[in-house]
């Protein structure tokens, strides 16, 4: 911050700027993808791997394409559960982080438990939330997704809210600013990059939570149920196509949060690299 830097014009972001990369920057990743899929396909042909062990990428793609209506409907159903859990879990986590950052005594009393709870394999509670909310409802999956999203968002947001430089707080004190002003104008803006780190982790976790929850029983419209039932009836290529759809929704969700982050944190130097 104190190192003098050359004065540059203010960067103005178009969509390309927003995505932050030019197409050519994606080239190495695209090469890896093509090589992986090609290698996969070739290995199956070369070693005669049986379809139930590992289907060919081309047959997964074919199945996906022919069943796309059903698969995407199921994916959308499960994504709604994930989204609901994400919203509730992250929302509660942000509120909790604000409370814990404001009243540090409460924070000191509760944080050890929050950290310990973070170590619990929460996904193991999926059958239990199914019992609480009936497995056929979306509510049971929303509940497990919410619990799973809660901790990463809480821990990251709290760290952000409390990593304000002391000199910034002193400046606010010189203006006789109250706690509300300090949170609004210093702590929350400082916490935003940390919050987004937590949200990105949570976005992926929410989709995992919803699908695993469905493995323990759920509506026939759900993607997790679809994957499980196809695998049980030896329709492995269908199951793989289901997993592909789960990936698509998970990655899509992650990318959406990433774009939101770029919009919200456009001021950041790293966003302009």
């Amino acid at each position: 911050m104190s190192t003098p830097v050359a004065v540059q014009p203010v960067p103005r972001g178009g969509l390309g700027r927003l995505v932050g990369r030019r197409l050519v920057d994606w080239l190495p990743a695209a090469v890896v993808l093509v090589l992986t899929l090609g290698g996969w396909q070739a290995a199956i042909a070369l070693f005669g791997i049986q379809n139930f062990l590992l289907p060919k990428p081309t047959s997964i793609a074919q199945t996906f394409w022919s069943d796309r209506g059903e698969l995407l409907r199921a994916g959308w159903f499960t994504f709604q559960e994930a989204l609901g859990g994400f919203a509730i879990g992250s929302g509660l986590a942000i509120l909790s982080a604000l409370v814990l950052a404001r009243w540090r005594g409460v924070g000191r009393a509760l944080m050890p438990y929050a950290i310990a709870a973070n170590a619990i394999p929460i996904i193991a509670f999926a059958p239990i939330t199914n019992a609480w909310f009936s497995p056929l409802t979306k509510t049971s999956k929303i509940a497990i997704a919410a619990v799973l999203c809660f901790f990463p968002v809480l821990v990251n947001t709290l760290r952000g809210l409390t990593s304000v430089r002391p000199s910034s707080l002193e400046l606010m004190r010189s203006y006789a600013a109250g706690q509300v002003e300090i949170f609004r104008r210093v702590r929350i803006p400082t916490a935003l990059p940390y919050l987004f780190t937590g949200l990105k982790v949570a976005s992926v976790l929410s989709m995992i939570a919803a699908i695993v929850g469905e493995y323990f029983g759920g509506s026939f419209d759900a993607l997790g149920v679809l994957i499980r039932s196809r695998a049980q009836t030896f329709a492995f290529t269908d199951a793989w196509a289901g997993i592909l759809v789960a990936c698509m929704f998970g990655i899509g969700f992650y990318v959406a949060i990433g774009l939101l982050e770029r919009v919200a944190l456009r001021w950041m130097p790293s966003a302009e690299e």
Partner: protein, 268 residues
């Protein structure tokens, strides 16, 4: 009118630990430019922070604008500039300057008029929409000064504001600061390590000595106003620099230790 009045200020850190300040008595009048100078550990920054009610004195009375320092802080009677500019990276230059105005509840139109005025004052026109990390250290410090002056405080507290800058930038900002001081008519209390800077800027230099921190000398600077780059070449300027330097060394000797080597802490 007396802007700052310090009566019997003492400050100890820890339980009966080091005495940072002992029995400080000081009065600062309207439109004075007072520098606090002394070696590290003489408590000059602590004294400044006590004036701003950012640190509580262990004993004594601080009156700012005829009220207790705490009330003066709540009434936003002073602006402060730290060694580090303390700008918010997520705010543009204009928005950083606007911060105290937002907190004081100024409406948008009044704010933007004021920002324009302040940006012109610190000569940052054209940089309103830049973020702090796009500016040099000197420019960042000018933003901090503009922010401190934005709501027209009667008192400006500056804690080694140019300490981290190179000599050239520092000398230019010294001239700019004097110009701002003349135009705004505010009272300035300025903490520095540099004897030349203290003499060049001030109407009065408060020389402090360490362990325990106390005022060892008050030196009136009678150099004519307005001061220019040529002021630094006048014989009277050198006389005053020598006077301050000797006062600093005398203060260190009073401590009982060996005299500080020339230029060890405070340097020209």
């Amino acid at each position: 009118m007396t802007v700052v009045s310090l009566r019997g200020i003492s400050k100890t850190f820890g339980d009966g630990g080091t005495t940072a300040l002992q029995e400080i008595e000081l009065e600062i009048e309207t439109a004075e430019f007072v520098s606090l100078i002394g070696p590290s550990g003489c408590g000059k920054s602590t004294l400044l922070r006590i004036m701003g009610d950012l640190t509580e004195p262990s004993a004594g009375n601080v009156i700012v604008n005829a009220k207790p320092a705490r009330q003066a802080r709540i009434d936003r009677d002073y602006g402060i500039v730290f060694q580090d500019a303390v700008l918010f990276d997520w705010r543009t230059v204009a928005k950083n300057i606007a911060l105290p105005l937002e907190l004081s509840g100024w409406d948008r139109r009044r704010r933007s008029e004021r920002i324009k005025e302040m940006v012109r004052l610190v000569e940052l026109s054209g940089f309103e929409d830049h973020h702090p990390w796009q500016l040099s250290g000197g420019m960042q410090q000018r933003v901090a000064i503009a922010r401190a002056l934005a709501f027209d405080p009667s008192l400006l507290l500056m804690d080694e504001p140019f300490g981290a800058l190179d000599e050239m930038t520092r000398e230019r900002l010294n001239l700019e600061l004097l110009e701002i001081w003349r135009r705004s008519g505010s009272t300035i209390v300025f903490v520095t390590h540099s004897i030349a800077e203290a003499v060049f800027l001030s109407t009065r230099v408060v020389v402090m000595s360490p362990r325990p921190g106390r005022i060892s000398d008050l030196i009136e600077v009678d150099l004519p106003q307005p001061r220019t780059a040529l002021t630094r070449e006048q014989p009277r300027f050198f006389e005053l620099v020598t006077q301050v330097r000797e006062a600093l060394h005398l203060g260190s000797e009073l401590e009982g230790g060996a005299p500080a080597p020339r230029g060890s802490e405070a340097s020209v």
